[in-house]
């Protein structure tokens, strides 16, 4: 239907059409520019308008015609009768217009396109078809007309397509068409003949009762057969054309094939062959007429003959050999395109298959004698070589089956002969195409006697006993031993077999042979590196006794141990790791009992003598696993995570397992009662509270962060919390240094601090400093079993499990409300349960209280071998505060059950935050003690007298952020004997001691020998520093509103008094608090009591320090 409201006044321009057509080609539909103005159904009308316009350029008209043809299914699905009428009228107008020079193409294209539309679109009525046919017949009905012979040929082809689209359409006028065929003498005769043949074909095919030679019905005006007009298909059908007529017609058609081009010949034969068989014509007639075409170098003609041959094999009795010989020779013609040479070989293979399947021994014999003619030539392209080798193999196998295999060459000889043509696969890189062809041939050779389609398993067995297989094995072993470069290819060759359901045995057999034959050869050489991939495959296969492999590896390791002087470094590590990899493969694929002796020897050899440390370590682990873990479980552990699924592995181990159990929440809720995650070192103070301050608060009094203005990447890092919280007012312009008066000492202090701060990582721009808390994960066997044991459905597993259960693939996730950053999760591949854990239970309960020191270190020792898994919780604190880390866990039980739940939280104390301050990397080792001492003094100075340095900022590492220091001071008097102080310090704070002064103290500590590498100052330099600090302290203390020294010792007045009594010296300690704060202790140790002077640049920590000191020294 035309849509008038959308039909525009202005028709489409040439350019519009171009765009529209390319839109259609790209996406099968018009785009918006078109659809917004026009409707899709108006397109045919638009096209017709453009076509009929005189001034429209010819190329565009042609494009439109092709467009209508190509997209007819979109354009014409529901076109109205008027449009159809217009359509036919338009065609008539174009065809009947006087021909001017150059518009020839238009007429022909119009005929083609309109016909195509008519055939494809079903909405046209018979009337329309008749109209077009009428037009075409009028054109056609002028035989030998010289001028428009090409147009007549096209019209014939159009009629042929219509006849094809509406079978029987032209059956009534067949007689006329025949007359035309006989009359036509120009080259257009081919089109007439094809048209007539199609009509005859349809008459026979549809069994239409009609005379093929009668011309009683007029040609024009054309009327479709009455049955077609009525739509009553069934009525018209009869027995078909008269047989006599048909034979006459066919005889006429068979006279003319020399007139055809090869394409037309193919089309023609496509119709004649079915006709001939329908007529039960003597096929030998066809043979005589057409067999000669097989000698043409036109591949289409050859193929026509082949199709005829496959259709009437009997008619070609005795000629099979000629045909196949011809195909073979065709493949040798270097002048034709390679693809046709390949095709010729494929055809030949197809024919051979037919012959072999037909089972006629005589034929087979004669055909298969050709076998040896297929040997590739040296300049044959590799693709051709590959196919020729296939044929050699095929002929060999079939003839072998025929003669019993005695007469022909031995398989080995033949194989060698074959491989010569790609011989250089042996030393070319394994990825070369020659190699690919060679191994493809090997594969074909191997499996041709036992194909996938043949379901008889005995063929595989007989193949394995055959000489062919034996030969191949020898060949493979020889090749592998001579050319290590081939190992990867051999491995994939074997793998290809092993992965095949039918030929798995063959692959395994190969591996066995390699084990028997190749390994002894390799032993002599001790050059195993290239063979590792192969050894892995050997290790994987449990049909092969591992003893030989282990022996070989042992020898190899021995040779490595001997060579240690020569080979150093990575290579050794690499080879050692490879060997261990094979051991691992062995462990996971074989029964432990089978391995135990040899492997434990090898592993212990490695862990004792192997030159590389890492390899020794790993060997030790494997050895321990081999010794300690029962086989079944061991295999499970060693399996890479993704292969632990029942479907991938057919071995018996997995058959006992039912599909994975899902997580059972009822059983997981009390997870923490039998799975414990504990700190290795318990906290001194079990912090039941934590002072949580908004970061802003810290900024106000402790730190001020000053952004340097050049910072660019600030914007991206909008997640940076400091940036959000920092008010604008606090941004002091630090870009320009302000002039300040300072003395030399301050300058030195500042210089020192600048150097120091430049080492501290800037948390906002790089990974910060990590705090690691060592923990242990334990599984309590008994409560676990009582909860989960009942689920174990496998009795076999139960036996093992009742003693000690195990968890696999445990994943611990951590989270915390404290500012610890994101805490990486932790994976424990394997966790074995422990039978009794009484001690731990008490430990667990008591953990809320403050725990005594003696408890922890011993436990650690005891755990060494059997116990839990060690877990490290890695914090990246934003602020050095204590807190709790919550732990949730996921794990798999042996049965595949999933265990999920929360564990006890891990407490983090202030002492976890204590880290050793960083030293610049360029600091010499010898000067480090003095560096720390000087740093201590500098920080001490700065934290005490903020006045002189308050405006100073110190750039952190990377230089993007700077820190300012604002110090706080505090004191604590500890009324404990000096001995206790020293012991506790040595035990807990040793790493942080930077200096000890005072002869007496120095002597005591030095004797202890625990604290080392610090600055020893026998003389107590009393002088200016102490007084200075104390005097400044007064002002500082007064100024500082948030000083948290309490319990009455805070008063500075008392200090000199206590200190004067039996003082022994001072211990100076410097604790770094991540991310960039500090805590400084100066302990003035007296015999009866000790005064701890505390200074820090992070005042909130003082709240915890007090508790800590008390726990440390007083309890």
């Amino acid at each position: 239907m035309t849509t008038p409201e959308k039909t525009p006044t202005k028709p489409l321009s040439v350019h519009d059409w171009d765009v529209l057509i390319s839109d259609f080609q790209d996406s099968n539909a018009p785009r918006d520019w078109f659809t917004s103005v026009f409707s899709l159904s108006s397109l045919p009308d638009l096209a017709l308008t453009s076509l009929l316009k005189k001034d429209f350029p010819l190329p565009s008209k042609l494009s439109i015609l092709v467009f209508l043809d190509e997209f007819s299914h979109t354009l014409f699905p529901q076109c109205s009768h008027e449009t159809s009428d217009r359509f036919i009228e338009a065609l008539r107008a174009i065809v009947q217009s006087p021909t001017t020079d150059g518009s020839n193409g238009l007429k022909e294209q119009a005929l083609i396109s309109f016909t195509s539309v008519l055939v494809t679109v079903e909405s046209f009525s018979v009337r329309h078809v008749e109209g077009v046919v009428d037009l075409l017949l009028a054109l056609v009905n002028r035989p030998n007309h010289g001028f428009d012979r090409q147009a007549r040929a096209v019209a014939c082809e159009c009629l042929r397509q219509l006849e094809r689209g509406f079978p029987g359409l032209l059956s009534d006028v067949a007689g006329h068409l025949w007359t035309l065929c006989q009359a036509e003498r120009t080259h257009a005769v081919q089109a007439y003949l094809l048209l007539f043949t199609t009509v005859v074909f349809n008459v026979v095919n549809q069994k239409i009762r009609v005379s093929l030679i009668s011309t009683s019905v007029p040609l024009v005006p054309f009327n479709a057969p009455s049955w077609m007009r009525d739509g009553s298909l069934g009525l018209s059908q009869g027995l078909g054309a008269d047989q006599k007529e048909l034979r006459r017609v066919l005889a006429f058609m068979l006279e003319s094939p020399y007139l055809f081009t090869s394409c037309a010949m193919m089309e023609f034969m496509g119709m004649v062959v079915p006709l001939a068989s329908a007529l039960e014509l003597q096929a030998s007639m066809l043979r005589v007429q057409f067999l000669g075409m097989v000698y043409s170098f036109d591949p289409m003609l050859c193929h026509v003959v082949l199709l005829m041959y496959t259709q009437f094999p009997d008619a070609f009795e005795g000629q099979e050999k000629d045909i196949m010989r011809r195909l073979m020779l065709l493949s040798k013609e270097t002048q034709i395109y390679l693809v046709f040479r390949l095709l010729a070989l494929h055809w030949l293979m197809g024919l051979l298959n037919k012959v072999v399947l037909s089972g006629e021994i005589g034929k087979r014999k004669s055909v298969l004698e050709m076998g040896q003619k297929f040997h590739p030539g040296v300049f044959d392209p590799l693709a051709l070589k590959a196919l020729k080798l296939d044929l050699v193999v095929q002929c060999y196998v079939s003839s072998n089956g025929l003669s019993g295999g005695d007469k022909s060459k031995s398989a080995g000889e033949l194989l060698q002969e074959c491989l010569v043509s790609v011989s250089d696969f042996k030393w070319l890189p394994p990825w070369s195409s020659e190699t690919a062809v060679a191994f493809r041939t090997l594969h074909k050779f191997l499996i041709c006697a036992s194909t996938h389609s043949d379901s008889d398993p005995s063929t595989t067995r007989s193949l394995m006993e055959s000489s062919l297989f034996q030969n191949l094995q020898v060949l493979l072993v020889d090749m592998t031993s001579k050319f290590p470069i081939l190992v990867p290819v051999v491995v994939s060759f074997i793998e290809r077999l092993v992965n095949c359901e039918k030929h798995q045995w063959l692959g395994e057999r190969f591996l066995q042979t390699i084990d028997e034959k190749l390994l002894p050869k390799l032993e002599k050489r001790c050059l195993l590196t290239a063979y590792f991939p192969l050894l892995h495959r050997l290790a994987e296969n449990d049909t092969i006794p591992p003893s030989r492999l282990i022996e070989l590896l042992t020898k190899f390791v021995l040779s490595l141990v001997d060579k240690r002087g020569i080979d150093v470094g990575l290579k050794l590590w690499d080879q050692g790791t490879e060997v261990l990899g094979i051991c691992r493969t062995l462990l996971s694929h074989h029964k432990s009992s089978r391995l135990f002796l040899g492997l434990s020897r090898l592993l212990s050899l490695m862990c004792l003598y192997f030159p590389d440390l890492d390899v020794r370590d790993n060997a030790r682990i494997y050895l321990r696993m081999l010794v300690c873990i029962p086989g079944r479980k061991l295999k499970n552990i060693l399996k890479p995570a993704d292969t632990v699924s029942p479907s991938t592995h057919p071995s018996t181990f997995f058959t006992v397992q039912s599909p994975r159990f899902r997580h059972d929440p009822n059983k997981s809720w009390n997870l923490s009662s039998y799975i414990h995650l504990e700190r290795v070192t318990s906290l001194l103070v079990k912090q039941s509270w934590s002072l949580s301050l908004p970061s802003l608060g810290v900024g106000n009094d402790g730190y001020s962060i000053i952004e340097s203005k050049v910072q660019v990447d600030e914007i991206e890092q909008d997640s940076s919390q400091e940036l959000q919280l920092l008010p604008d007012s606090r941004r002091i312009e630090s870009g320009k240094p302000t002039l300040r008066v300072m003395d030399a000492k301050i300058a030195e202090v500042l210089e020192r601090l600048r150097r120091y701060f430049s080492v501290i990582p800037d948390l906002r721009h790089m990974p910060g400093i990590k705090v690691r808390i060592a923990c242990t994960l334990r599984l309590d066997a008994e409560p676990y079993n009582s909860i989960w044991g009942s689920q174990n459905q496998s009795p076999e597993l139960d036996k093992v499990d009742s003693s000690s259960p195990a968890l696999f693939a445990t994943v611990l996730k951590f989270s915390s409300s404290a500012p610890y950053g994101s805490i990486p999760l932790c994976r424990i591949p394997f966790l074995q349960g422990e039978p009794h854990w009484d001690k731990n239970v008490t430990n667990d309960e008591g953990s809320l209280e403050i725990v005594l020191l003696e408890n922890t270190p011993k436990e650690e020792e005891k755990e060494g071998l059997g116990g839990g898994a060690s877990v490290t919780v890695e914090l990246e604190p934003r602020e050095p505060t204590p807190g709790l880390v919550e732990v949730s866990m996921e794990a798999n039980a042996e049965s595949g059950q999933m265990i999920q739940g929360k564990l006890e939280s891990v407490p983090v104390g202030i002492e976890d935050m204590f880290l050793k301050a960083l030293a610049p990397p360029d600091e010499h080792e010898d000067t480090i003690p003095s560096y720390y001492s000087a740093l201590f003094n500098a920080l001490w100075e700065v934290c005490g007298s903020s006045s002189s340095t308050a405006h100073e900022t110190f750039a952190l590492k990377g230089g993007k952020t700077a820190a300012a220091i604002s110090g706080t001071r505090s004191v604590k008097l500890l009324e404990v004997p000096a001995e206790t102080v020293i012991q506790a310090s040595e035990l807990h704070l040793a790493p942080f001691v930077v200096a000890i002064t005072g002869e007496q103290l120095v002597n005591i500590v030095r004797e202890g020998g625990i604290i080392e590498n610090i600055l020893w100052q026998e003389e107590e330099e009393e002088g200016g520093q102490a007084t200075a600090s104390s005097s400044m302290g007064v002002t500082g203390a007064n100024r500082d509103p948030l000083r948290l020294t309490y319990i009455g010792y805070g008063d500075d007045q008392e200090v000199p008094m206590t200190r004067s009594r039996g003082k022994m010296g001072k211990i100076k300690m410097l604790m770094f608090l991540p991310p960039r704060y500090h805590l400084l202790f100066e302990m003035e140790v007296g015999e009866e009591s000790t005064l701890v002077q505390i200074r820090t640049d992070y005042w909130p920590c003082l709240a915890y320090v007090d508790d800590y000191l008390e726990a440390l020294f007083l309890l």
Binding site: E108, R287, Y295, S296, D298, V304, L329, L343, V378
Partner: protein
């Protein structure tokens, strides 16, 4: 459904993987849809749009390594369902394209695998010049399903002689053969390998020899006539080494695709998707000339479709035998040399009417003809050629009458050996000793002879040596010895020449890699290998790329010298045409001329001291 060949669609893709031309044939597509519907009961997916096709093509290219693909099952890359999984080299020419289902584009590979019918197969691929031509012929739905199930087999690869195999599929599918022909014709059209139809060259048989006048065309009744395809054009595809040259030659011509030309070609050659005539020269001639009423058809005989025009003018009959010698000369006891001749007889019959021509193939018994095949116009009896008399009705223009493979009856025209011995890693000494035209008598004459030593992977920095005859030219990667310069032909006598010399290369680049990660093999290499050459070979081969399946072997892995020459006067296979016994019926008095020329193809002297590829002699 009758067999035959029909094309559902064709696409031309440029080197940027964009579709530059596409054509769908709805008439054929309708047949496909109804056949699919009958067999399956459901509608097949629509043909892809150009964009979808380009996407699918790019994806396949990524998966299969190149536009053509691996051809063989490659260990790590080939996946189930892909072409290379079939493990057959012909999948480099007949490919499948899995289509993404309508809306989703990229990441739905898995769903595709389930939806087997969303595969386009068979697509015949032909790349020529800058373009790839994809042709999708009509096949039966069952055949496509067979193919898909072949691809999806999970076993270790098809064995020869199985019931369902690619071979038996190909044997039954004539449409693939036809599609390949179509693809090649389009390749010729796009690459512009057809000569422009307007060219007219006046006949002047005395100038430039016979061959020149063959390639140049002679007008028919003074009207512009197309020049038929050059007689030797097809032989350029015979050997890989010359192929690249031809491709390079095409590239500049093929700048922009002439869509009008393609559309015209389609309208005449395959208006509805069924190819009827793929002869470019005929089609373009008809397009250019049309027909006039003054050109009546033959009085009694029907004019064949492949001969739309009849000749008018001075009559004559021209034959040229053109032979190409391929030789692998080893100079070793254990490997026999192989010399073979690929020949063809080109013909140009300027004869009026529709005459039959016949002549005895005199050389057929003398020459060791291995195979022989003919132009479709030749009438070959059903039992093949044995009477040695060939009858044909010549088409117009130049055409190849017959092709043959033969032995070299006269013996190799260039004999000798080439030895190259590496003194150190970068220095070698070589020696040539060649004899030209030994035993060749007049009128055979050699026009030129050049021997080239290519070193594609080494850079020549120094060269020293003087040949006993001829001149030497060195380039960065080759040494060229012009034994016989052009203009000084060798006729009636033989020539012996030697050429000793030394050559120096710049140090191997791959060494820097060799010291690092390839440590192991180096270490073992020194223990296994005895001489410097083997070490060198190992080093050189480490980074050798794999060659295409169209090459006979990896040329770069060997030392060889390539001989090129041209011989005129007679054939070397002893094939000849006796001009006196050529019969034309109906009899006319027209002169018959005959000429012959021989050129070298892959004529290789292998380094006697190195490795050389060979093949078993049976």
């Amino acid at each position: 459904m009758p067999s035959g060949c029909s094309i559902r669609a064709l696409w031309i893709i440029n080197n940027q993987d964009a579709v530059v031309f596409s054509r769908k044939f709805p008439v054929v597509e309708k047949r496909w849809r109804s056949a699919f519907n009958t067999s399956d009961g459901s509608d097949p997916p629509r043909l892809p749009t150009d964009q979808q096709l380009a996407t699918a093509f790019t994806q396949r290219k990524r998966r299969e390594g190149s536009a053509r693909g691996y051809g063989l099952r490659v260990v790590t890359q080939s996946t189930k369902g892909s072409d290379s999984w079939l493990d057959d080299p012909i999948t480099r020419h007949i490919i499948s394209l899995p289509l993404s289902s309508s809306e989703e584009d990229d990441d739905n590979n898995e769903s595709n695998e389930n939806d087997e019918m969303n595969i386009l197969w068979p697509i015949v691929i032909q790349s020529k010049g800058l373009y790839c031509i994809l042709v999708l012929p009509l096949v039966e739905p069952k055949e496509m399903r067979d193919f898909v199930s072949l691809c999806d087999r999970s076993d270790c690869g098809s064995a020869v002689g199985e019931d369902l195999s690619l071979s038996s599929l190909l044997l039954n599918m004539s449409s693939i053969t036809g599609a390949l022909m179509v693809a090649h014709s389009f390749g010729d059209v796009t690459s512009g390998e057809t000569v422009e139809p307007e060219v007219v060259v006046a006949a002047s048989p005395s100038v430039g020899g016979l061959f020149d006048s063959l390639t140049g065309s002679i007008g028919i009744s003074s009207r512009p006539r197309p020049v038929a395809a050059a007689p030797v054009a097809s032989s350029s595809s015979s050997s890989g080494s010359s192929l690249t040259g031809a491709a390079a030659l095409d590239a500049p011509k093929a700048g922009l695709l002439d869509k009008d030309l393609l559309r015209n070609f389609i309208a005449s050659a395959m208006p509805f998707g069924t190819p009827l005539d793929l002869s470019l020269s005929n089609i373009f001639a008809m397009k250019a000339n049309g027909f006039s009423s003054a050109e009546p058809p033959h009085q009694d005989l029907k004019q064949p479709a492949w001969k739309p025009y009849l000749y008018k003018g001075k009559q004559r009959l021209l034959f040229t035998i053109h032979e190409t010698i391929n030789a692998a000369l080893y100079d070793r006891d254990e490997i026999p040399d192989s010399v073979s001749v690929a020949g063809q007889i080109n013909c140009r019959a300027e004869l009026e009417g529709l005459p039959d021509v016949s002549f005895p193939l005199a050389g057929l018994s003398k020459a060791h003809i291995e195979s022989i095949s003919f132009h479709p116009c030749a009438q070959v009896p059903a039992h093949g050629i044995d009477k040695q008399n060939i009858v044909f009705q010549p088409p117009l223009g130049n055409f190849v009458l017959m092709r043959y493979q033969a032995g070299c009856g006269l013996g190799p025209p260039v004999k000798g050996f080439y030895q190259l011995s590496m003194v150190s890693e970068d220095e070698g000494a070589f020696l040539f000793k060649v004899g030209l035209m030994e035993g060749y008598k007049s009128p055979l004459s050699m026009e030129f002879c050049t021997i080239t030593m290519p070193f594609p992977r080494r850079r020549i920095v120094g060269f020293d040596g003087t040949p006993s005859a001829g001149t030497v030219v060195t380039t960065e990667h080759s040494v060229e010895w012009r034994v016989l310069g052009s203009g000084r032909s060798l006729s009636g006598k033989s020539l012996e020449a030697t050429f000793p010399g030394t050559i120096k290369f710049s140090p191997l680049k791959s060494r820097r890699r060799g010291d690092g990660d390839d440590d192991d093999s180096d270490g073992e290499g020194t223990e296994n290998v005895v001489n410097v050459e083997e070490v060198l070979v190992q080093k050189m081969n480490k980074d050798l790329p794999a060659v295409e399946m169209e090459e006979p072997f990896c040329w770069q892995a060997y030392d060889y010298a390539k001989v090129s020459f041209k011989i005129v006067g007679a054939s070397v296979s002893r094939m000849s045409i006796d001009t006196k016994s050529v019969n034309i019926y109906p009899t006319t008095k027209s002169p018959v001329e005959y000429s012959a020329q021989v050129t070298s193809g892959d004529y290789i002297l292998w380094n006697t001291l190195g490795k050389a590829p060979s093949a078993a002699v049976v």
